[in-house]
């Protein structure tokens, strides 16, 4: 049994490596993205084997799902701008770099290989499964307010990290808006009637699933990020199926949604400190509701942010040169 599973592990590992290589080597960029998504799913599978269902869920939803969608959208955009949509293969764009000599590439390859060997040596010599936070987490679980250790870590023990993670998302969306500003309106990939109908059908269910995943995070694998990703998928569908068209008037609301999670998280963190506690130190009885509040708000923010990252442009801003009255919004 164990040996069989180990064999499976080995094969999966090789498959993952093969997919990674293939994703870098394959000529067609579309195929590359497909390889990458497959790679992500295999990774998630591997993590399930490593007893990390939360991570696997996050990887499948965000690392693979959202990233894949973003890559595909970008690929579509690039091909549309280049006028190569009609071609059967999506080939690499050629940046105006000069050719790097093969010798240099080979040298880099050799050095990367040696680095891998070195790191592997270090990994093998490390005390695998050695010291960790297990005991500390187990001790602190009763006071955490939640039952699922990963959620406890995310929203209580290391809530500061999580806050900053949401801040990263906020920074990303600001940066994306900044970069994409005054870019001509690009239609999202045309999905057609089927998608639209599919979207209308699936949406309510997906919302329910998302909220459940969020809720379940308190006791079982799942949580804000995964839930947010599911909800974001809803947003993606909405956007792609033109059920929802971002309008200029929604900008303020969008901004509000983006910062909602951060604001609530920050507010709670600081407010609990009012009573002489440390920042993020939830009062004993209020831990669960506060965490749930934060999780909920963060989920909404994440969903909105991920959708916005996918959509790219700030809603409603007209492409240049019509855009002259920003100050009067």
């Amino acid at each position: 049994m164990t040996d069989l599973l180990l064999l499976f592990d080995m094969l999966l590992g090789l498959l993952i490596i093969g997919l990674a290589v293939a994703a870098l080597r394959v000529r067609d960029l579309f195929a590359m993205v497909v390889m990458f998504v497959t790679f992500g799913l295999m990774t998630a599978l591997a993590w399930v084997r490593l007893a990390a269902p939360d991570v696997a869920l996050a990887e499948a939803a965000i690392g693979t799902g959202v990233t894949g969608a973003l890559l595909l959208k970008t690929l579509y955009h690039l091909r549309r701008v280049s006028g190569t949509l009609h071609l059967p293969e999506a080939l690499s764009e050629r940046p105006p770099d000069p050719q790097v000599p093969r010798a240099v590439i080979a040298a880099n390859a050799v050095m990367c290989g040696l680095v891998v060997i070195g790191l592997a040596a270090a990994f093998v010599t490390a005390p695998l499964g050695g010291p960790g936070f297990d005991a500390a987490v187990a001790d602190a679980m009763p006071e955490s307010g939640v039952d699922h250790p990963v959620t406890a870590v995310l929203l209580n023990f290391r809530a500061y990290d999580t806050l900053m993670e949401v801040v990263v998302l906020l920074a990303a969306v600001i940066a994306v808006w900044l970069v994409e500003r005054s870019l001509p309106q690009s239609d999202p990939p045309v999905m057609g009637e089927v998608y639209e109908g599919f979207a209308r059908l699936v949406l309510p269910g997906a919302v329910v699933v998302g909220v459940y995943v969020l809720w379940a995070g308190a006791v079982a694998p799942g949580g804000a990020f995964q839930g947010g990703a599911v909800l974001a998928a809803v947003g993606l569908l909405l956007l792609m199926s033109h059920v929802y068209e971002p309008a200029p008037a929604h900008r303020a609301a969008a901004r509000g949604l983006f910062v909602l999670g951060v604001a609530v998280f920050t507010g709670v963190a600081l407010l609990v400190a009012w009573g002489g506690r440390a920042v993020f130190e939830y009062p004993p009885g209020l831990a669960k509701p506060l965490i749930l509040l934060i999780e909920g708000m963060v989920t909404i923010s994440i969903a909105a942010t991920l959708a916005a990252l996918f959509h790219g442009r700030e809603p409603g801003v007209q492409p240049r040169p019509a855009d002259t009255s920003e100050g009067a919004q």
Binding site: G132, F133, L178, V259, V279, F280
Partner: protein, 494 residues
């Protein structure tokens, strides 16, 4: 939270964050919010420094858990000094930015857009920087430098020009890679120790995993701080950003990664002698190559950007000056140089931006053709250059003094020679600019009344001038600064 020290720490962390939220949600009031927050952060930094000076180090256990399970914020002399430098430079840059990105009515679409994104990005950047200086957990530091990286890339591409976007993408790639190397390093640290706080690192015995972690983290951070030969992304990024953004990037952003390196050297098992020498060699390469490129640079901001490369190199030479054994003291020289460079480079980029704005271009070759000479901006530039060259009594001079002193004491003559070479080089490339300021026989314009030195004298010039003058004058109070830096680790490493 009852202690004022801890209050200031938390304030430094959350004030810019709240400011960023506000600036993002209320784009029209962003300049006021930004300026207010910048000043507030400065006040908080002053309060913090005051507290540190009077009570010493401080710790906040976030969530009440405490390391290693939770995350601690910690402040000592070095962090406080970094926070103060960041806040001060940030405030001055904000003043400069109010001019560039301020005002209620945008002058054109091209300035309107950057205006509403600059402030939230900058405040997020400030959040990240403060978080780095307060942080004690290496994974948290990873998240923080990601915050910094995304905000910094945003600032880089603020102008939206093709060059800026290209530079920004290169910067982005370098940033991501650097951060991922750090993350990998974090993984190895966890493998070995099972904990991620500095306290855990400090007591660790050397091992293979920690070696791997050190290698990965050092290279990743060197990439982020643009240490030669990993500097390839920096000049274009810093030269093509708008002036306030360049000032922030050059004066503050690269310092975060540098600070983490200093902290890692402090807390991790002592590195080998060879690694320290390698750091010195890389610094030497930076000094030489950066100087040569600065001599060749055709644009003012590019020159200033290359000067950043050389200064980073100098800071690494400062770290390496006395070998492993000397690290316990040489970090002070590096810290002084970091502070000096932050102050001077911020002023210099702002001044360069002002010169460009007044003259209409920043081609060094043609600076002397312009009939317009923004005298105060030029003076600010010159003051900043004095500090960067390391002429007395500037803080840069004190830094170089300490480098050379330490190197001499350790018998490392070569670092003295390198430092002096770098000084001569910096003199050479800055004097190119001075010649452009002071030469008058090439002016090609029939301006009534001849050369206009007074034109381009604007109130906002006083901000960089004051900052640059501060950089020069701080050298005179180096002793208190050094004493302050040593708070928390009197006599070297803890």
């Amino acid at each position: 939270m009852t202690e004022p020290l801890q209050f200031w720490m938390v304030a430094l962390l959350f004030l810019p964050l709240i400011g960023a939220i506000a600036a993002f949600v209320l784009p029209r009031h962003a300049p006021i919010v930004g300026m207010g927050v910048a000043l507030g952060v400065t006040g908080a930094a002053v309060g913090l420094c005051w507290q540190v000076q009077s009570v010493g180090t401080g710790t906040v256990a976030l969530g009440g858990w405490g390391a290693p399970l939770g995350i601690n914020l910690h402040v000592d002399g070095l962090s406080a000094a970094m926070l103060a430098m960041t806040a001060g430079v940030g405030a001055v840059v904000s003043m400069g930015a109010v001019n560039t990105f301020g005002g209620r009515v945008a002058r054109s679409a091209e300035t309107a857009r950057p205006r509403q994104y600059f402030w939230p990005l900058w405040l997020l950047l400030l959040t990240g920087l403060n978080g780095v200086y307060l942080g004690t957990d290496i994974f948290n530091l990873y998240v923080m430098i990601e915050v910094i990286a995304l905000a910094a890339v945003g600032l880089t591409v603020l102008s939206g020009s093709l060059a800026a976007l290209r530079a920004g993408l290169d910067y982005m790639f370098a940033s991501i890679l650097g951060a991922l190397l750090l993350l990998m390093g974090v993984g190895f640290v966890y493998l070995q120790l099972g904990r991620l706080d500095f306290g855990g690192l400090a007591g660790a015995d050397p091992s293979g995993a920690l070696v791997a972690a050190l290698a990965l983290m050092f290279v990743g951070l060197a990439l982020k701080t643009a240490l030669f030969p990993l500097h390839f992304w920096l000049p274009a990024a810093h030269a093509n950003a708008t002036a306030p953004a360049s000032a922030l990037l050059s004066a503050l952003v690269v310092k975060a990664a540098l600070y983490i390196i200093v902290r890692l050297l402090q807390h991790m098992p002592a590195p080998g002698e060879a690694l320290v020498v390698l750091m010195g060699l890389m610094g030497t390469g930076a000094i030489l190559w950066g100087s040569v490129q600065a001599l060749r640079a055709d644009r003012l901001k590019l020159l200033v950007a290359w000067s950043t490369v050389t200064q980073i190199g100098l800071i690494f030479v400062a770290l390496a000056q006395a070998g492993v054994a000397g690290l316990a003291h040489s970090w002070k020289a590096a810290a002084v140089l970091i502070l000096a460079h932050g102050v001077a480079k911020g002023a210099m980029f702002l001044a360069a931006g002002r010169i460009r704005a007044e003259v209409g271009h920043d081609r060094i070759r043609d600076l002397d053709r312009s009939p317009v000479r923004p005298a105060l901006a030029q003076l600010a530039f010159a003051f900043a250059a004095v500090s960067l060259i390391g002429l007395p009594p500037s803080l840069g001079f004190i830094g170089k003094w300490m480098v050379m002193e330490g190197a001499l004491a350790a018998g490392n003559w070569h670092w003295v020679v390198i430092t002096m070479t770098g000084t001569l080089f910096s003199l050479a490339y800055f004097s190119r600019v001075f010649a452009g300021f002071l030469r008058f026989d090439r002016v090609e314009a029939d301006v009534p009344g001849g050369v206009v030195e007074q034109r381009g004298r604007a109130p906002m010039d006083y901000a960089p001038l004051a900052l640059a003058a501060l950089g020069v004058a701080l050298g005179l109070v180096a002793a208190p600064i050094l004493e302050f830096l040593e708070i928390g680790r009197a006599g070297g490493w803890p």
